[in-house]
Amino acid sequence: MEKIVRMQRLNKYFGQHHVLKDIDLSVEHGEVVVIIGASGSGKSTLIRCVNGLEEFESGELQVDQHPLEPKGGNQKNLSEIRKEVGMVFQQFNLFPHLSVKDNIMLAPRKVKSTDKAEADKVAMKLLDRVGIANQADKYPSQLSGGQQQRVAIARALAMEPRLMLFDEPTSALDPEMIGEVLDVMRELAKEGMTMMVVTHEMGFAREVADRVIYIDSGQIVEEGKPEAVFDNPQNERTQSFLSRVLKH
């Protein structure tokens, strides 16, 4: 199958700190890859490299056939990549000065020059899909955290991305709102969206992931089907991590 993300020997440093070490990782179309690991392990940095929010020092990265060069190299493909890759953040990062609907319409209008009526229609359809069409004219600050994150997902979907990145999408939410966001993500996965998800929600990982990747100190330590990684981890670092997080 065709690969949408190809990383080879990718290395990333923050100053002296070696954050990602020789990462080899491919993602196929339609695949849901969940990345787990302790905080500071480099898992967020890894997916932030995919849409160029973080530059990397060496290695190769291709996103949907577009190569992206290491720091200092040619970044001309970056804008193409970003049009095809949607991202959802831990802190939602909705635009507080725009209404919910305008948040969703902004990129289609500016980047794709979609006309207003069409962008409006798409926005309403997406809001309906994430279950909050009745909040279209409100401002983000008037919404609950779970609702805000659902708007953020709708906003990313409005660009019709070929790949969605989720960077700890439920970590900033109150426990009772986690479910509604995971439900939307589960639906997306079912519809065939290619997804890379960094999360601490092990239940979601087990249920939705096609592949789970465990990353520790910037290295991929273990990867495989969720049953394999969760029920029969081979590496002792994975075992120790899972025994800590699955206890609760």
């Binding site: 849409n51 929010l53 804008s79 970003r82 049009k83 890759v85 949607g86 991202m87 953040f89 802190q91 990062n93 909705l94 635009f95 507080p96 000065h97 902004l106 990129a107 500016k110 980047v111 401002y139 600050s141 953020a152 906003r155 990313a156 660009m159």
Partner: protein
């Protein structure tokens, strides 16, 4: 010894028709200067946070020079000094507007810098992740939010600049203080006249304060 001084209301009120002749000058210099200062401020403020240090350096130099020297010296330099350089006299009104523009521009640069830097980095990341270019992200995501935060300090600067125009009586622009001086020269009623001059400044600045409070309330209501 008793001074025997009594406030002469008729002298104060009688001065008004003469003093108000200064108001158009005061307003023209302050708001003309502030308008240009705002343009300078956006430009220099954005340069001062540019990635390239060759662009940051001139902006920082400009800000430090015009913030670090008295506006009185600046206007004297422009009015009396610059003509030597440009080879012709500079109109007092022009000199006054230029001084306010350059001086307020330096302060407004800092207001712009602070406003833009106060916006969370996640906003820019969200914008570029959606495929917006850097400049689209800046002008449609960061700037509108930053500008809203800049309104109170901009209002503050406007009030400071309005009062600064009073110094320009020294180059003979017919603004409020200058009109007062002219009037006093024939009536010798300094107390009453300067009292009225102060009241007129207060009327201008209070009007502006109220206006700003109104704008702020409406602006913040939609965030």
């Amino acid at each position: 010894m008793e001074s025997g001084f009594t406030f002469d209301w008729s002298a104060a009120v009688g001065a008004l028709p003469h003093l108000v002749k200064g108001i158009p000058y005061t307003l023209m210099i302050s708001f003309g200067g502030l308008l240009i200062g705002f343009v300078i401020g956006i430009f220099m403020g954005l340069l001062s946070i540019n990635k390239s240090r060759w662009l940051r350096w001139p902006a920082t130099a400009y800000i430090e020079i015009f913030r670090g020297t008295p506006i009185l010296v600046q206007v004297l330099f422009i009015f009396y000094g610059l003509p030597d350089l440009v080879g012709g006299p500079i109109n007092a009104l022009t000199a006054g507007i230029a001084a306010i523009a350059l001086n307020s521009g330096a302060y407004i640069s800092e207001v712009v810098r602070g406003g833009v830097q106060s916006i969370d980095k996640g906003q820019t990341e969200a914008g570029v992740s959606l495929g917006l270019s850097r400049s689209q992200t800046f002008w449609s995501v960061v700037w509108p939010q930053a500008f809203r935060r800049m309104i109170p300090p901009l209002g503050n600067q406007a009030i400071v600049s309005i009062k600064d125009t009073s110094l320009f009586s020294v180059i003979g622009v017919g603004e409020l203080v200058r009109q007062g001086q002219i009037y006093i020269a024939t009536t010798f009623t300094a107390f009453e006249v300067y009292f009225m001059v102060a009241l007129l400044y207060l009327a201008i600045t209070l009007t502006l304060s109220l206006l700003l409070r109104f704008v702020e309330r409406r602006g913040l209501a939609s965030t």
